[in-house]
Assembly symmetry: C2
Homo-oligomer: 142 residues x 2
């Protein structure tokens, strides 16, 4: 989770929304990312998507069974679905996101009967730190 | 929609699930894509995501206001959210996808009160052709 926070911090320094993610297998980080939607002009360049794409590229597979994903904020519907498609084993996230989340908030995608693969979900890791980072970022923007 | 079907057909020829998408602005295609999840080892390489990434890259913007997206199948939650993030104006899709869709099926993301931007949705364009292509593809795979 510390590595995910480090990614979030560098994202903030780049002027991006401070969210970071890492994909871990057997204790080794195989993918990491912080938001880069502005830098890359890519609305899909969320931290989780970038971390998953890196891990998949490294493992030359579109699926990552047995790998876990750590992210500082509850994933949005796009990222929650990408996590499912990648067959991530466990999802650990920091703060819940009532407005944009889709795991324990909003669409709760993993609870739908049509969800093919749902990771085990663990939350509340560094949630205060995660929420404070986002608050500080958006306060500065306004 | 014909261009989206052409993308779906070439996706099938590559051994990918036959779904195609194009992004159009003022009658000009500014992004197009067919599924490439296997080829690219990327679970996020759905037709809609690739078409949006190309259009955003071309316009050097993470948002595409005034642009429309045509896709042969109802978007999944990942793609439906990406379409919302990209501020796509109108979404035209072929067949509905009861199992995997998230627009008129499943999570119905655009109907959630937390959805920031919902495109206008039009469906049923070539739905028989779209569904037949998918059926033929999965029949051959089995």
């Amino acid at each position: 989770m510390d590595a995910a926070f480090a990614e979030a911090e560098t994202a903030a320094m780049r002027g991006e929304v401070p969210i970071g993610a890492v994909v871990v297998r057997d204790g080794i980080i195989i993918g990491s990312g912080g938001n880069r939607t502005r830098e890359l002009n890519d609305p899909t360049a969320h931290a989780e998507v970038l971390a998953i794409r890196e891990a998949c590229s490294r493992e030359m597979s579109e699926r990552l069974p047995g790998a876990d994903l750590y992210v500082t904020l509850e994933p949005c519907p796009m990222c929650a679905a990408a996590i499912s498609f990648a067959r991530i084993r466990r999802l650990y996230f920091g703060a819940a996101d009532e407005k944009g989340g889709a795991v324990v908030s909003g669409a709760r995608l993993y609870n739908l009967p049509t969800c093919h693969h749902a990771p085990e979900v663990y939350s509340g890791f560094g949630e205060v730190r995660s929420a404070e980072m986002l608050k500080a970022f958006f306060k500065e923007k306004r």
